[in-house]
Symmetry: C2
Subunit: 129 residues, 2 copies
């Protein structure tokens, strides 16, 4: 059936069953359910669980922080509000006066997307083994 139950998924990924439920609660990985309500972890979820672990201790990020990043992705209203607030930072880019910050932002996103693309292809290679 190509899917593991929670304890099986736990032992092959190094998480505890408890933490898999917690990760789900944080909205990070929500496995599909069987008719009876059992969590079913497919290969995609297993891979994501492993890379999540790497992500966490490679960058010293917490599960709730990743959850917040997810929220930022979904809630563009909030994203925009934060961007706007950061943009009013007075001292930092003293020579970049508020009118140019959009360009600045756009430039940052170019770099970011490039970096993400690199990372994504790496992941693809790892996943498709």
């Amino acid at each position: 059936m190509d899917a593991l139950t929670i304890h099986e998924a736990a032992s092959t990924t190094g998480w505890s069953a408890r933490m898999l439920r917690y990760v789900e609660e944080a909205g990070l990985i929500e496995p599909r359910r069987s008719a009876a309500g059992y969590r079913l972890y497919g290969p995609g979820e297993l891979q994501r669980l492993r890379t999540l672990r790497e992500l966490l201790d490679a960058h010293a990020v917490s599960i709730t922080e990743v959850g917040f990043a997810l929220r930022l992705r979904r809630d563009e209203e909030l994203s925009a509000a934060l961007q706007g607030w950061f943009a009013t930072e007075p001292a930092r880019p003293a020579d970049v006066p508020a009118a140019d910050w959009l360009l600045w932002e756009q430039d940052k996103h170019q770099k970011l997307l490039a970096a993400a693309a690199r990372h994504a292809t790496e992941l693809m290679e790892t996943t498709t083994r």
Copy 2:
């Protein structure tokens, strides 16, 4: 001298002096210092303190979460890692197969930047009163 000390800044913004130090510790607002080390809050900082408060209870965000968003802005490595991880989400864009996610992202950023621009002009109007 066009700058307030911490208790003055506190009473005009509604924060407590303790919380101003905490906000600084989180990296959100770092006022300049006098020769003797006193914090000096200029008009820009005062405005940002007020809008920060609005931001927090308008979107139910915490100070540390804003701090994390700031970290995301600065650490593009981390940003890219998170983007990449989110991009491997299996179920969600089942019809958007991994090659197109960059375009998808780019589109999202277009919308985000547009929204941020709207918000920024609002802020400018408010600030320049």
